[in-house]
Structures are given as structure tokens and as C-alpha cells.
């Protein structure tokens, strides 16, 4: 176990992550202006999910956490997605 070891993120890597996030924000603003119909929502949400994953993995240091925390966090996010999707499908099919 590497419990007492702490990974330190470098300033340059954090700045790179910010640049990527800002690029994705620009892209999502552009995409929603393209009038893709129902795909606009899907595209905007897909970009939001990628941005969220980028924040969790890099800014929240998930990349360097213990396997236990990695499994726990992925599991809860999966449960969260399932709750949202299943409840929404339940509503649509009523």
C-alpha cells in the first residue's frame, strides 16, 4: 500500500488540463450554435461528461488515488447514471 505517499501535480500539467477544459467549453458553445436538432442535447451532454471526467481525473487527483477510491468513485458515478437513466426511461414509457 502506498498510503503515506502523496503525488504532487506539476503546475504545467494543471495548466494543460485547464487549456483542454477551455477548448472543450469553446467547442460546446460552437456545437450548440450549429442547430443539430435533437443531437444538440446529446453533443452538449457528451462534452460535459468528458469535461467532468477530466476534472475528476486530473484536478481531483483520481489518477493517483488508491484502487479502493477509484472503484468507489467509479461505482457511485455509475449508480448515479443508472438512477438518472432508468428513472427517465420509466417516465418516457409510461
Amino acid at each position: 500500500m502506498k498510503q503515506n505517499e502523496t503525488h504532487i501535480s506539476s503546475y504545467s500539467s494543471l495548466a494543460t488540463v485547464l487549456a483542454i477544459l477551455l477548448l472543450m467549453t469553446t467547442f460546446s458553445v460552437l456545437v450548440t450554435g450549429w442547430h443539430l436538432g435533437p443531437f444538440t442535447v446529446a453533443a452538449a451532454l457528451l462534452i460535459a461528461c468528458i469535461k467532468a471526467a477530466t476534472v475528476i481525473i486530473n484536478f481531483m487527483h483520481m489518477k493517483f488515488e488508491s484502487l479502493f477510491l477509484k472503484i468507489l468513485v467509479s461505482g457511485v458515478f455509475l449508480l448515479f447514471a443508472l438512477v438518472i437513466v432508468i428513472t427517465f426511461i420509466d417516465y418516457l414509457l409510461r
Binding site: V17, L45, V83, I84
Partner: protein
């Protein structure tokens, strides 16, 4: 990304961080409920949601997204600074984060007061005369951005506590759990906004 490994003395930081994550999960489901309500009503009143969402200022929304993304980086950098024993730099970066949060709140203030000028707030005469779907959209808009703004304020308080603790040396290169957990909380505030921004401001 080449990172160095440093050894810190034994504290309960792993447990402390785990506790913070469990708290963040409850926050996730709190906002998740609102996202679900939004999805259901959007499916039911798509035309009215379209009209109402077009009234929101996408520029302010984008600007606030930039503020929060940059502040997420500065708070992450402040953790790097404290871990590498540079308390002054950490202090500076936490202060910048608080200032960016204040800019976000200022924007929110102007955005909301602009709507209040048009008497567009829950319970007002103007809002009651809107079509049902638009009432629901604006209700959700105030609820989601309002609850998020409360989280921004709590984050500002937490980060301010860190400013004092870094100054007094209670948060240092060997004890930085408070800053680490506050940073995690701040990133959650950013995460929630990453979803609120496209759902309310971009998709019209």
C-alpha cells in the same frame, strides 16, 4: 506527467479524504434529483423550454464557466504549492480562487437582478402569466443556479478558513488535508456548473 513522490508523516488523511468523497456523493445526488426533474419537464414541455432558455444570457454563462474552470486550476495549484512547502504561493493561489469565486457571484448578481427588473422571479405577476412550461423552466433555473450559488458561497468560506490556517501554519506541507478537502469541494462546485451551463444556457 512526471511527478515526484514525497513521504509525509502518518495522519488519517486517507480516511479524511474518503469521508469527503462520501459527502460529495450525497451532493451529487442532491443535484442529480434536480437534473432529473429538468430532463422530465424538458421532454414534456420542449417548445416552452426552448423559448424560455433563449432568454438566458449565454455570454454571462460562458464567462462564469471560465471563472470556475480557472479557479479550479488555481486551487489545484495551491495544493501543489503547499505540498512543495511554498505557503506564500499557496496563500496567493487560494486568494485568487476566492476572488474568481467573487467574480462568479458578481456576475450571478447582475444576471438575477436583471431578471428581477423585469419582474421575472418565482411568484411574480409576470411569471404567473407565462405558459406552464416556461414557469417550470424559470423555477428550475432559480432553484439550480441558486443552490449552486449557495455552494459557491460555502466554498468561499471554506477557502477563507484555509487562508487563515495557511497564515498560522496549521495548514502546511505536512498537514494539508483541510486544503485538499476544500479543493475537492471546490472542484465539485465546478463539476455541477459544467452540467448546469449547457443544460440551462446553451441548449435552447
Amino acid at each position: 506527467m512526471s511527478g515526484q513522490i514525497i513521504h509525509t508523516e502518518h495522519t488519517d488523511s486517507e480516511t479524511g479524504k474518503l469521508g469527503m468523497w462520501i459527502f460529495l456523493f450525497t451532493e451529487l445526488f442532491l443535484f442529480g434529483g434536480l437534473f432529473l426533474v429538468y430532463a422530465v419537464f424538458r421532454a414534456k414541455y420542449s417548445a416552452e423550454f426552448h423559448t424560455a432558455a433563449a432568454e438566458l444570457n449565454a455570454f454571462i454563462g460562458t464567462l462564469n464557466t471560465v471563472f470556475l474552470l480557472v479557479s479550479s486550476m488555481t486551487v489545484a495549484m495551491s495544493l501543489t504549492a503547499i505540498q512543495t512547502n511554498k505557503p506564500k504561493l499557496a496563500l496567493f493561489l487560494v486568494t485568487v480562487t476566492i476572488l474568481l469565486a467573487a467574480l462568479f457571484m458578481m456576475n450571478k448578481y447582475f444576471e438575477w437582478s436583471h431578471k428581477f427588473e423585469y419582474k421575472l422571479y418565482p411568484g411574480s405577476e409576470v411569471m404567473r402569466n407565462l405558459p406552464h412550461g416556461e414557469i417550470l423552466f424559470f423555477g428550475l433555473y432559480y432553484m439550480m443556479t441558486g443552490l449552486h450559488a449557495v455552494h459557491v458561497l460555502v466554498g468561499m468560506v471554506l477557502l477563507s478558513v484555509n487562508v487563515f490556517k495557511i497564515k498560522s501554519g496549521k495548514v502546511s506541507s505536512s498537514h494539508f488535508l483541510l486544503l485538499e478537502n476544500s479543493a475537492l469541494y471546490w472542484h465539485l462546485v465546478d463539476l455541477i456548473w459544467i452540467f448546469i451551463f449547457p443544460l440551462l444556457y446553451l441548449i435552447t
